[in-house]
């Protein structure tokens, strides 16, 4: 047990607060013709999250600041945003991991219609998701009252892509998606992957056909932005590559 180290760090972190400047890209559709940058100074601790800063601004300075959030620990996928030019979840980005000698830039994710401040219209994102048939399709009936059998190895095959929380950090970090909103985008492909490689599913071919479309996997330029952006650590680019290979093979 190494509590000594822990005690020192948490005491330090708890005692030292400092002023951090946030530059937030604001947009009020009822007033503004164009988005504008607004700065806020916030008193923060090193272990605070960017979400805490947004809350402090909203709760203590400007109640009109608008953003989505719910669980506040990286599970619900509500608060994907661009922080210093990189897509992250505000609730998983700690102040200590940012350079606070300079202002911290916060803006909405790109490529989806901007609604207000940090809120975008998620509907095109979910429309792409729905198009890849993201649900188990198996015509063979399991034994009544029993589970379908799946080996540990078969289950492990698609484990990585089951972690997706549909936050859109990957899709809205993709340069192809920025220029072509018709592209399915990484998140939809990840969710197709999750079923294509599930041994219980029988419709992999249908999804491979869908993703062989001109707006499908071949649009991916392998920039790895999506993998960098994923707050769940999913190897998104690898999953896309596996789908590409499966299309070429004609089978998972």
């Amino acid at each position: 047990m190494t509590t000594a180290t822990l005690e020192t760090t948490s005491t330090d972190a708890a005692t030292k607060s400092f002023t951090v400047t946030f530059l937030i890209r604001r947009f009020d559709p009822e007033v503004d013709a164009e988005p504008r940058w607004q700065d806020f100074d916030v008193e923060m601790y090193a272990t605070d999250r960017v979400l805490d800063a947004l809350h402090k601004i909203k709760w203590e300075q400007d109640g009109s600041l608008t953003f989505r959030r719910s669980c506040a620990h990286g599970i619900c996928g509500s608060d994907a945003m661009r922080i210093n030019g990189r897509n992250r979840l505000a609730c998983k980005t700690l102040i200590k991991d940012l350079d606070i000698t300079k202002p911290i830039y916060v803006e909405a994710i790109k490529g989806l219609p901007l609604e207000k401040d940090l809120v975008v219209d998620m509907e095109p994102f979910f429309a792409s998701y729905r198009e890849v048939q993201p649900f188990l399709q198996a015509s063979s009936a399991p034994v009544a009252g029993k589970e379908r059998v799946q080996s540990v190895a078969e289950r492990a095959r698609f484990d990585d892509t089951t972690k997706c929380i549909l936050c859109a950090a990957c899709t809205s970090s993709c340069p192809v998606f920025w220029t072509d909103g018709q592209y399915f985008g990484p998140a939809a492909i990840v969710n197709a992957h999750r079923f294509i490689f599930d041994s219980r599913d029988e419709e992999a071919k249908v999804r491979l056909d869908i993703l062989n479309d001109k707006e499908g996997v071949w649009r991916c330029r392998t920039t790895f932005n999506c993998t960098d952006a994923c707050p769940r650590g999913i190897e998104v680019t690898k999953a896309i590559a596996e789908v590409k290979q499966a299309i070429l093979r004609g089978t998972p």
């Binding site: 509590t3 009020d28 203590e60 953003f67 619900c76 809120v119 188990l136 399991p142 379908r148």
Partner: protein, 607 residues
């Protein structure tokens, strides 16, 4: 923002009107499970204040209980007994039997829908140990929790959403339900009664109001952990659904019983699953002692949550806490090894690393209890029908999941029984609602101006020139609830909180909403949510003050023993009198409801 192109609706005086056989409020596990049942049988809409996959079911980690007996001998009767004993005998035993019996099909349903459970070497659903789940009436821990790493809730939420997509369920996302519309109808015996006729919702994107006329309404709105400061609950868990029902004059049951999950990350409240202890993790005090051995010699760290939470608080109170301020205990996972942590507990391992900078592979993790789950809520029978008193059903009104009180959890829920509850009773709510709407009932006519109350509520808040900050009132409420109505309570601490709440309710009338816009006005919504939080906190405190005994999640320092003679009954709280008075006793009436006992007579609760 809706997921489908909804059928054109009529607009009357700026209010959109829709008509559905069944309207489900809430798109977490219970709501979507109900939708999967209801969608194919009746015209169904789901209204959710969030996108469905943001719901807090997704934060559940450790597992879902069912006596599959895939890895060792088990039976649904043992599960029933554990649930009843875990709830300190305040469980309605007929409901617990249903829960445990239907658990098996509920898990198989999910697997057949595609849920990627962890597997045994022979390819069956794997099972792990969890607090309070035992072999043969308490002899030893049993492997009953079906799981997918420590992401079981995430997988349930995703699987249910996937199946809603498959079925083409109509969602109204980011529509915030604000009122249940009741119409006075002829009861057939010369009297009249209130019957639900629809729901009023506020569309976040536009600020416009929608009336959903419905034959049946299902509440599946989750909990209200945000009445507390330290909580595992999401910011959005403000108890709106429970609050709506309360304001309609319908009762709330057992509101004093709130569960504090033992292992929240110290200072933050972020949940670390009990599955960690199920896999062998150990709680230690500052000197490294495995203190649960002293309190629960048979099942130790796997005692139910109420007991473990109390023991932790007691260790700290008696000076055996760890850390510089001796204000937490330690969850020691170091002996589990990196592989178990990375494969079976990956998310909590990451939470500890991200939020505390502690690596559970090498260091014990600072933990303290965190407000987690409301055992109480909207009273229902086992068909998920809402009750207007101890026995009377409100036709066409259903509730399931955390917002409801069946009561399968009694005074303390066992871990993994909530993911089970949402599936078993969500399904029952959906199925029974379909049966009801297809039994020849017609739409109940809406009253004149059905959205009037909501419009006035929002206008008052938006147009107020008040000076009180929403966040300041909310913070004081949460701080005081943590101090006075948490793991340990006394009449003194509760009276103090009640006084504070009365003052906050006064200040709430002078609240300031800064955002005056129509689109995505989350400032306005936070003001509305705070109103619900104040209402519910008041009911929690009044119910807790009234129960002068200690049972399950309700521990009274001034009445440390369970008193079956006086209190072996459910609390029923009613809104009556002056709803707007700041003083709770002016508008809360407390009554009792008998507990249903079938096979298990109350015994002393030892582990």
């Amino acid at each position: 923002m809706t997921s489908e192109n909804h059928v054109e609706t009529t607009v009357v005086d700026g209010v959109h009107h829709h008509q559905y056989d069944i309207v489900i409020i809430g798109a977490g596990g219970a709501g979507m499970r109900a939708a999967i049942e209801a969608g194919p049988g009746a015209k169904t809409a789901v209204i959710s204040k969030l996108y469905p996959t943001r719901s807090h079911t997704g934060a559940a980690q450790g597992g879902m209980a069912a006596a599959l007996a895939n890895v060792e001998e088990d039976s649904w009767e043992w599960h029933t007994f554990d649930t009843i004993k875990g709830g300190d005998y305040l469980v309605d035993q007929d409901a617990a039997e249903i829960l445990a019996k239907e658990a098996i099909d509920a898990v198989i349903d999910l697997e057949n829908m595609g849920l990627p459970f962890n597997r045994t070497p022979d390819g069956k659903i794997d099972q792990r140990r969890f607090g309070g789940h035992t072999r043969d009436h308490g002899k030893a821990p049993v492997r009953r929790a079906c799981y997918a790493a420590d992401r079981t809730g995430h997988m349930i939420l995703q699987t249910l959403f996937q199946n809603c997509v498959k079925l083409g369920i109509e969602f109204y996302n980011e529509y915030y339900a604000l009122d249940l519309v009741m119409t006075e109808v002829d009861a057939g015996d010369g009297t009249t009664r209130q019957k639900p006729s629809g729901v009023v919702a506020y569309e976040l994107a536009t600020g416009e109001l929608h009336v959903f006329q419905a034959k049946a309404v299902i509440f599946a709105t989750g909990g209200f952990g945000k009445i507390y400061k330290t909580t595992s609950n999401a910011h959005t868990l403000t108890g709106d659904g429970v609050g709506i029902v309360w304001r309609k004059g319908l009762p709330l049951e057992d509101m004093e019983f709130f569960q504090f999950h033992p292992t929240g990350l110290a200072g933050l409240g972020i949940l670390l699953t009990e599955g960690a202890r199920g896999e062998g993790a150990i709680l230690r005090n500052a000197s490294g002692e495995r203190f649960m051995e002293r309190y629960a010699p048979t099942i130790k760290d796997l005692a139910p949550r109420d007991i473990v939470a109390r023991c932790m608080v007691q260790e700290v109170a008696e000076g055996r806490g760890a850390g510089p301020d001796k204000d937490y205990v330690l969850l020691d996972c170091t002996h589990l090894g990196a592989e178990v942590l990375e494969t079976k507990l990956p998310d909590i391992t990451e939470f500890a690393r991200t939020y505390l900078g502690v690596d559970p592979v090498y260091e014990p993790v600072p933990v303290m209890p965190t407000a987690h789950y409301a055992m109480g809520g909207i009273p229902t029978n086992v068909k998920a029908e809402v009750l207007s008193d101890n026995t009377t059903v409100v036709p066409g009104l259903y509730a399931a999941g955390e917002c409801a009180c069946v009561s399968v959890h009694g005074s303390n829920r066992l871990g993994t029984n909530s993911l089970l509850d949402i599936n078993v009773f969500g399904k029952r709510a959906g199925r029974n609602a379909v049966e009801y709407v297809n039994s020849g009932v017609d739409f109940t006519p809406l009253p004149d101006d059905p959205a009037g109350d909501v419009r006035r509520l929002l206008e008052v808040l938006r147009d107020s020139n008040g000076t009180e900050r929403i966040a300041a009132i909310r913070k004081e409420l949460q701080d005081e609830m943590d101090k006075g109505a948490q793991v340990f309570r006394t009449s003194e601490s509760l009276d103090h909180v009640a006084e504070v709440i009365a003052g906050l309710r006064d200040r709430y009338r002078n609240i300031a909403v800064q955002d005056k816009g129509k689109r995505f006005n989350t400032d306005l919504l936070e003001a509305v949510e705070l109103g619900f939080l104040l209402d519910l906190a008041e009911v929690v405190v009044a119910s807790a003050r009234n129960r002068e005994e200690s049972r399950g999640g309700h521990m009274r320092d001034d009445f440390p023993n369970r008193d079956d003679e006086k209190f072996m009954q459910h609390t029923m709280a009613y809104l009556s009198g002056d709803a707007h008075s700041s003083v709770a006793s002016d508008h809360i009436r407390l009554d009792w409801k008998p507990v249903t006992i079938t096979r298990y007579q109350p015994m002393e609760r030892k582990y």
